[in-house]
């Protein structure tokens, strides 16, 4: 394997441009050979495949979404079981509800590196960097609610299938790259990141009223799903893509947890508390096919079949407090607060023993990293920040008669989520210099390189992403039928790598590129229909 294959992606991109651009038209079809490798990777966390995945619960149903995700103190339908199982008391007739969500959005680029020093006195100019969040239509939930008499008291039963945690927003990035080495020619850089699917939950919940003052409930949640992510990036000129790479990742996830909740009625004021109990989320059968960007059209293409280590993520208990206040017959105010100490989340997997060194002791460019797995388990912090969320909402009945009710809803939500900004710690910004220092005998540098080999992407987890959402919604209730629409505009700033195609294989150990700061605006339109029987 050529040592040059280990260089940083911008290096690869730059070198690719240098070599390939002048001859792009002469070699329309690459005839380069393909090597396949089978590798043992780390877990999907260190490999970075889960960097866009947020395991916080998403609001369920358009009514809840339109009210900022708040409403644990409301006597809701079966979908409110995800906030507070005690809300099932609100199910007064058998009902079936289903919801779907449509995502879209835009972005504003705050900063990105316009000039990259790629070494060897070469510079890479970039301009017109833009990020377009992808659109997606997906299900949100199907819930069945039944009123019941439980142990002689009024109660409710809920059965729900719902998307519990999303995979994050996909996006398409574009930029124009230019270097003096390419004879002033501009090259288009494109990257598409498509996280797919997420964690779904089948939930069974029950609630019982204790007098007119207190409702208590519980829900059992069986979580499962397959997380997928496809990322591809490439360089093109005049519409012809001459170099490309990317990866395809998938992994099964499963878990089980219990929710507990209660509501207290104090006249027009309702108070509520809920807990989503701690549990483990198991990640298994992780697999990725990685296609590094080759240096040029004649370089050997590599397909790295990477088996990822099974691992367990310990999810801390989330606590929520909420209230609702009825002002007259038309206006209801709600407010919730949630906190989950994600900073206590640990990852457990097989221990990894990394080795770094030089295959040729006389050549500093022969640096290599290799990994071996031990029989022991290793537990370490997942690098996530504490999540908390303040949610405020109101519902006002524009029209309310015997058969027809037309509520409008408004909401506001601010939250830190279990997504982190990418951060480059001091000492990690000059990877080539670090290898040089190690070559020259720096033991401290060797420790840093070993840490980087062991934990890779986790080293670059920074502060939690903070998002703010403004929500609006409209509902129509006619007899036994209800339909609700919600519109949410969520904005968050996020720092990510620029021109980065990470690689879980240490043999292709990329160095640490520059960051971008982007404000994303995600528009979510939710639609819910409900029938009472």
């Amino acid at each position: 394997m050529k040592s040059s294959a280990r260089i940083l992606v911008p290096f690869v991109l730059a070198a690719s441009i240098l070599v390939a651009a002048p001859c792009a038209f002469a070699q329309a079809v690459s005839t380069a050979p393909t090597d396949t490798l089978t590798l043992i990777g780390r877990s999907s966390w260190e490999a970075g495949f889960l960097s866009t995945f947020n395991f916080d619960r998403v609001p369920v149903g358009a009514r809840m979404s339109a009210m900022g995700g708040a409403g644990m103190a409301l006597a809701g339908g079966a979908e409110y079981m995800s906030l507070n199982p005690a809300a099932l008391i609100g199910v007064e007739r058998p009902q079936l509800e289903s919801s779907a969500l449509f995502y879209s959005g835009g972005s504003t680029i705050q900063t990105f590196p316009e000039l990259l020093d790629i070494g060897q006195a070469q510079f890479l100019q970039s301009k017109d960097y833009r990020v377009s969040p992808s659109t997606k239509l997906n299900y949100n939930n199907v819930s069945l609610g039944l009123p019941l008499v439980i142990l002689g008291g009024r109660g409710g039963l809920g059965l729900s299938y719902r998307r519990e945690a999303r995979t994050g927003e996909g996006s398409e990035d574009r930029a124009i790259l230019k270097g003096s080495f390419a004879a002033g020619q501009e090259v288009n850089y494109g990257r598409e990141d498509k996280p797919e699917d997420g964690v779904d939950a089948i939930s069974v919940g029950a609630a019982r009223a204790f007098g007119n003052f207190l409702d208590l409930g519980f829900a059992l949640n069986w979580q499962s799903g397959t997380l997928r992510r496809n990322e591809s990036y490439g360089l093109s000129q005049f519409g012809f893509e001459f170099l490309s790479g990317g990866y395809t990742f998938s992994q099964d996830v499963s878990g089980f947890n219990v929710d507990l909740g209660g509501r207290a009625h104090l006249g027009r004021l309702n108070l509520a508390a809920a807990a989503q109990m701690s549990h483990d989320l198991n990640f298994k059968n992780g697999f990725a096919v990685v296609r590094p960007v080759p240096e040029d059209l004649t370089s050997t293409k590599i397909l790295a079949f990477t088996h990822l280590l099974d691992n367990t993520l310990s999810i801390p208990t989330a606590i929520g407090l909420g209230s609702s206040l009825e002002l007259g017959r038309r206006l209801t105010l709600v407010g919730d607060y949630w906190i989950r100490p994600w900073s206590k989340a640990d990852i457990t997997r097989q221990e990894i023993i990394p080795t770094v060194g030089f295959s040729n002791p006389e050549d500093s460019t022969s640096y290599f990293v290799s990994l071996a797995t031990a029989d022991r388990k290793e537990t370490f912090n997942a690098g996530l920040g504490d999540a908390n969320s303040l949610r405020l909402g109101l519902e006002y009945a524009l029209h309310s008669s015997g058969r027809v009710r037309v509520p409008v809803r408004l909401g506001y939500r601010t939250e830190k989520v279990a997504l982190t900004n990418t951060m480059i710690p001091a000492g990690y910004s000059d990877y080539a210099g670090m290898i040089d220092r190690y070559f020259n005998g720096s033991a401290a540098t060797e420790d840093t390189l070993l840490e980087a080999a062991r934990y890779s992407n986790l080293i670059f987890r920074g502060d939690p992403v903070k998002s703010t959402a403004i929500t609006f919604g409209l509902g129509v209730d006619i007899d036994t039928f209800s339909a609700s629409l919600s519109v949410e505009r969520r904005s968050y700033d996020v720092d990510n790598f620029y021109l980065y195609g990470f690689n879980p294989d240490p043999a292709f150990n990329a160095t640490f590129p520059s960051l971008t700061a982007v404000t994303r605006h995600i528009l979510t339109i939710g639609l819910t229909s409900r029938m009472r029987f």
Binding site: S98, A100, N138, Y139, V142, I478, F481
Partner: protein, 157 residues
């Protein structure tokens, strides 16, 4: 993939149409007998005749504890005459009421061959029509629900 989506779409449409069969009753009269209308005739004791009340048509006669299918022999302003009745369903919880009725003027037994209903027993005639708004709501609900379920199944299967 395209075939699967088409199949799901057809299934969703069929289910939506099947589930959307929502009807409502609007006032009609004896004069509507014989017209191309499905009517519900309510009798004094709460019994009903449902169907197209024209000679030779098959209707459903619901009385205490039993549901008959019968053929219309006569339906006009003097009354309704049904022939060839046979029992379609029987509800035992109405046995006592039925036994009481069998002793009354209206004789309906297993061996009944002719049911005569004089006009004075008719208290109400309603026409059965499609409730378009209700059908639209139900159709929309079921189509949307099937769409969401199909999305779940396509993601998980």
């Amino acid at each position: 993939m395209h075939i699967r989506r088409t199949a799901i779409g057809i299934l969703a449409s069929m289910l939506a149409l099947a589930a959307a069969g929502c009807t409502k009753l609007v006032p009609a009269s004896i004069n509507d007998f014989g017209a191309e209308k499905t009517v519900v005739v309510t009798l004094r004791d709460g019994e009903t005749i449902r169907g197209h009340l024209t000679r030779g048509a098959h209707v459903t006669f619901t009385t205490f504890g039993r549901v008959y299918r019968a053929t219309v022999e006569e339906a006009d302003e003097t009354g309704i005459v049904l022939t060839k009745p046979y029992i379609q369903e029987e509800y035992e919880r109405y046995r006592i009421q039925r036994e009481r009725m069998e002793g009354a003027a209206l004789h309906i037994r297993d061996e009944t061959e002719r049911i005569t209903i004089p006009a004075y027993k008719i208290v109400k005639v309603d026409e059965v029509t499609i409730d378009k708004m209700k059908s639209a709501r139900a159709g929309g609900f079921w189509a949307f629900t099937v769409f969401v379920v199909a999305k779940i199944l396509s993601a998980r299967l």
